[in-house]
Symmetry: C2
Subunit: 335 residues, 2 copies
């Protein structure tokens, strides 16, 4: 039932090599022969054996996606589903496939790494949401693996795609300023993550561009989660801010809970802007003003660039920044 090159060759009355040439559409095959061979291939539904093929070509047409397991079911956050969608679409369009690895799970991550990468399963890998102190990236570099990070990485050797965290945050804070808010606090993300750092930088820039002082007392760090946001807001309460930029929607939601417990009204007393534009942001009351990231495009871009790297269409580290967009709803007091 499962045919081989040899079998097709026999059926077509040609040699193995000719069939191979047809399949890889090598030019030097007489058109009529080529057509005849194709016919038989289609007829019997022949498909070359991937393993045999990659044994000689050293290419598997599979790329990996490495995600820290911990971050994988983030509270109602469809980040990974969307990212994966973008990646697979691009992959498939290029005849490639996706292997998914959740790192740091029950299994020894070293084993996983070795099995998958040294085992030659992959042509390249996309790593997502790495912490700056994650040993994965240095290891990939050291091993000469072709890879790309989703999220900027402060080592000029690593390729990455990311959204424009700085500009997005600036837009958010500038919007609050335009609404007349003056004591704008922020719940920033972990400073150990680039996204956390960049969004905080955007906040600072927006303020300073208006000649306003950056005040550490108005900054509290969260971990991107709802609980983290709530706790951070509780610390901020004493400063009596009239607006808040939260570096993630989930932290914004946590902050809102803390504010309400303290009897503050949204947006009258405190205007709020988040970051992400989770589905939740449009369902909740009031609708959450937030910065929307093009997550699916980010994934598509990641795959695109990684495949360019793998196929050798581009040389050296690649850096792509995708624009974001402010989505104004009710939580910031507009209209």
């Amino acid at each position: 039932m499962t045919h081989t090159l040899e079998g097709i060759a026999r059926l077509a009355g040609v040699s193995r090599s000719t069939v191979s040439r047809v399949i890889n559409n090598h030019p030097s095959v007489k058109p009529e022969v080529r057509e005849h061979v194709w016919q038989i291939i289609r007829q019997v539904g022949y498909q070359p054996h991937a393993a045999a093929r990659s044994l000689v070509t050293k290419r598997t047409h599979v790329i990996g996606l490495f995600i820290p397991r911990a971050v994988t079911a983030l509270f109602g956050d469809p980040f990974f589903p969307l990212l994966i969608r973008g990646i697979t679409d691009t992959c498939n369009a290029h005849g490639c496939h996706l292997m998914l690895s959740l790192c740091s799970g029950h299994i020894d991550p070293d084993d996983l790494y070795r099995q998958v990468l040294r085992g030659g399963y992959l042509d390249g890998v996309v790593v997502a949401s790495t912490n700056l102190d994650d040993p994965l990236v240095p290891r990939l570099i050291g091993d000469g693996v072709r890879f790309l990070s989703v999220g900027a990485y402060p080592d000029s050797r690593v390729s990455y795609v990311d959204v424009d965290n700085v500009s997005g945050t600036r837009m958010a804070v500038e919007h609050l300023l335009r609404q007349g808010r003056r004591r704008i606090a922020t719940i920033c993300g972990p400073r150990a993550m680039v996204a956390g750092r960049d969004r905080l930088a955007g906040y600072r820039q927006a303020l300073e561009a208006r000649g306003m002082a950056y005040d550490e007392a108005l900054v509290a760090e969260g971990d991107f989660s709802e609980d983290g946001g709530r706790a951070a807001m509780q610390r901020l309460l004493a400063q009596a801010p009239d607006a808040l930029f939260a570096a993630s929607d989930m932290m914004a939601i946590g902050a809102i809970k803390a504010l309400r417990e303290a009897g503050r009204r949204i947006p009258q007393d405190v205007a709020i802007v988040g970051f992400d534009d989770l589905p939740l942001a449009s369902i909740m009351e009031p609708g959450l003003t937030t910065v929307r990231q093009p997550i699916e495009r980010l994934g598509a871009m990641a795959a695109e660039v990684l495949l360019d790297l793998v196929e050798g269409r581009v040389e050296g580290p690649q850096h792509v920044i995708l624009p974001v967009q402010l989505v104004v709803r009710q939580s910031c007091g507009s209209r």
Copy 2:
């Protein structure tokens, strides 16, 4: 840099076969030799080449997960992330890996299917959320592919794992009855899907077990989405139900919106129970009473059973049903 069996053999002063035996821990290798060889393997970080290996063993240690692309970013629904987590954990624990395919996307699904399956990439496949009329399953059967469905499938030849939709729904409806509700409507899922059918059956059973009539007028069909739930509820409004079982949390949320627009209070006027226990269910006001599915366990079980099938540890179609649990919050009027 990248070693081969031959290289290790030379370093260890033994033959290729001996090294191979060590790696596959074949019994007949003298303990001291075995240890010596392992030492060298660890020292140079040797890892057998997966393609070469599977060329001869016919096993790839990779299983596929096929998901309809359309269903992949369902509104805030962390179903797939959790499912994937369960699957990968089990996979990795068995030294296997996961290849993810979103079907019916931009690419011709036939191409994808052929490439991946006939190409010999996979040892087996998990299919999730298939419609009853999806041609994928019949095709897998026809091709003799080892596979398993997440979600029951009405063909006794196919193995599946599923949650206990019928009992879960019965529990939900019985709870509403215990609260004294008597006009209990339901927004059921698509009758073209087994989950839709089963939950409707549970609703009916709960009623009839209490000697109450099943009334079609109290049934409206949705598509598991929020908008679907809202529209269905609008149709149900005229029946003035005092309670509602929605076959998904998202439909429950849509229904709540429709009810509020009609001036009904939750839970005083209409008590509500959903199904899924999305994160959203505990955030919203009032908290949504719902039936919790063990999604991650479902995934783990899927991988477990599929691998049993692949490794030949079990024979014939396998059917596993996992229990669910009623989570009581405020939307059903308890307490």
